[in-house]
Amino acid sequence: MSVLLRHLESFGALLLAVIWISPLLFAFWAAFHATTDAVNFNLTAPWTLENFRTAWDGAPWLRYFLNTFMLVTVILIGQFIVTTLAGFAFAQVRFPGRDIVFILVLMQLFILPEVLIVENYVMVSRLGLFDTILGVGMPYMASAFGIFLMRQAFKGVPIELHEAARIEGCGWFGILWRVYVPLARPTYLAYALVSVSTHWNNFLWPLIVTNSPDTRPLTVGLSIFGAPENGVDISIISAATMMSVAPLLVAFLVFQRQFVQAFLRAGIK
């Protein structure tokens, strides 16, 4: 009885896995086949790269890739600087008002940048950052989540190391840079993976703030390319979709363990 149940469960787990992965597999398969073969599920049809060629010629993808790459880099650098300084202040410096400010920072976890699109759009335009990559990235740099993560990481650093560095004549900045930052390396890695995958995939805010192919990230480019009114057929859309998810997907499949660990570390602490 229990053996049967176990087999049944294994079957269920596998079935769910197949269902879960099938949309991706279908699109992958369709991307390499002519549209007529793809929609007729002609499994013996020949493989072709024609869809990729058509899709690639249909939009400035290289530019989009570059924009997305620059966007996630700018955000990551900004986040590292801002959250390191703030996380250190919250973890190791005593100053009046610290706890109240920390609660204010935590509030930002709920004031989503996505919800404030209207006023943030006004703000970014006022700062002259409309249709710039910096304008897309800036609202995300002071991430409350990142500050919280860094604070936790820095709190775990033994005070003896801090004291020792101070006796050796290190100033505040030296202590932060030579003691805290190196010890928090796993947290930085985790945070970097979460941040890069979040912003590689972000859509609504970049849609609002970008207005030209020179700044538009992949997600926005993909949505314009695939819009039904452009009448692009399903195989070509699949090819374009595969192209734009490939870098992140390949990175995920190669560094799967680190990815999962990163999400865990980010979520649990």
Binding site: L16, W20, F88, L116, N120, M123, N201, L222, L264, I268
Partner: protein, 297 residues
């Protein structure tokens, strides 16, 4: 001596605020000030070429409440939340329990569950378009094998919202699984052994020991899922654009439409304030009740 201590304390205060200043400036610019500005905007009338904007009090709110589309959108979002939250959490739990037990091809199973999480919502929507397209889509093809008629899943009011909900669940469940999986791995082995010695069945063990120990994780995921039910709307841009006839329109999409398609900033602001109020209540519950209750490790 006292003077020295005082000086040190003052120095710490200056350092503290200096370190905090970049974050403080950015958070003020892009979170706190815009929240207040949104509240302010929501109290003024829309500026037109003939008439400058003037203070109208709560008129934008009463207009909103009189707008039937607003209520449709609220209702849609409630259905969206009520469906995506429990279903994706239940699937996530099942996935985690399976991915944590000894099953064949466990590596593949875990990867398959988690992969949708790393895709952009826009890409996910494109993949699902392939399933939903009437006549040519995968669902219709499967249906036709069983002699079922072609269904325009995205084009009819009865199914459009559900088609959107399914994509969200597909995207979310693997992400939530990760948190359950992590929590499962912290449950000590002795509990399982003790349960075995007592002769408890696997089901009893799961129900009486595992599920209670997962409670803090469940609440954590619940808060995330609640936030996501406001936030995850990107796929609407591809799949339905809120249609047909507003049947799949969600609040954040409506805010976007109001502000950037109809150029009615005050109405959008009023709606934003209502969303912020709801999120504020969620935050309040999280910080007061949940954080106190669930720390039993």
């Amino acid at each position: 001596m006292a003077k020295h201590v005082n000086l040190e304390r003052r120095r710490q205060a200056i350092y503290g605020w200096l370190l905090l200043s970049p974050a403080a400036v950015l958070l003020t610019t892009f979170a706190f000030y815009p929240s207040l500005a949104t509240l302010w905007t929501s109290l003024f009338s829309r500026e037109t070429r003939r008439r400058p904007s003037e203070f109208v009090g709560v008129e934008n709110y009463s207009d909103l409440f009189a707008d039937p589309t607003f209520w449709t959108v609220v209702q849609n979002n409630l259905i969206y939340a009520a469906a995506t939250i429990p279903i994706s959490m239940a699937i996530a739990l099942a996935m985690a329990l399976w991915a944590n037990s000894k099953i064949p091809a466990r590596g593949f199973v875990r990867t398959a569950y988690f992969t949708p999480t790393v895709l952009p919502m826009i890409a996910a929507a494109n993949l699902w378009l392939f399933f939903y397209t009437p006549g040519l889509g995968v669902l219709d093809q499967i249906g036709s094998l069983f002699g079922l008629p072609s269904v325009n899943w995205l084009g009819q009011p009865e199914t459009a919202l559900w088609a959107v909900i399914i994509v969200t669940i597909w995207k979310e469940a693997g992400f939530f699984m990760i948190f359950y999986l992590a929590a499962l791995q912290t449950i000590p082995e002795d509990l399982k052994e003790a349960a075995d010695i007592e002769g408890a069945s696997r089901w009893t063990y799961t129900r009486r020991i595992v599920l209670p120990l997962l409670m803090p994780t469940t609440l954590f995921i619940l808060v995330n899922a609640l936030i996501n039910s406001v936030k995850l709307i990107d796929h609407l841009f591809i799949l339905t654009k809120g249609g047909p006839n507003d049947a799949s329109k969600l609040i954040l999409y409506y805010i976007w439409e109001m502000a950037f398609a109809f150029f009615d900033a005050p109405q959008a602001a009023a709606m934003t304030i209502l969303v912020l109020a709801v999120l504020g209540i969620v935050a309040g519950i999280k910080f007061t009740i949940l954080d106190k209750r669930t720390h039993y490790q």
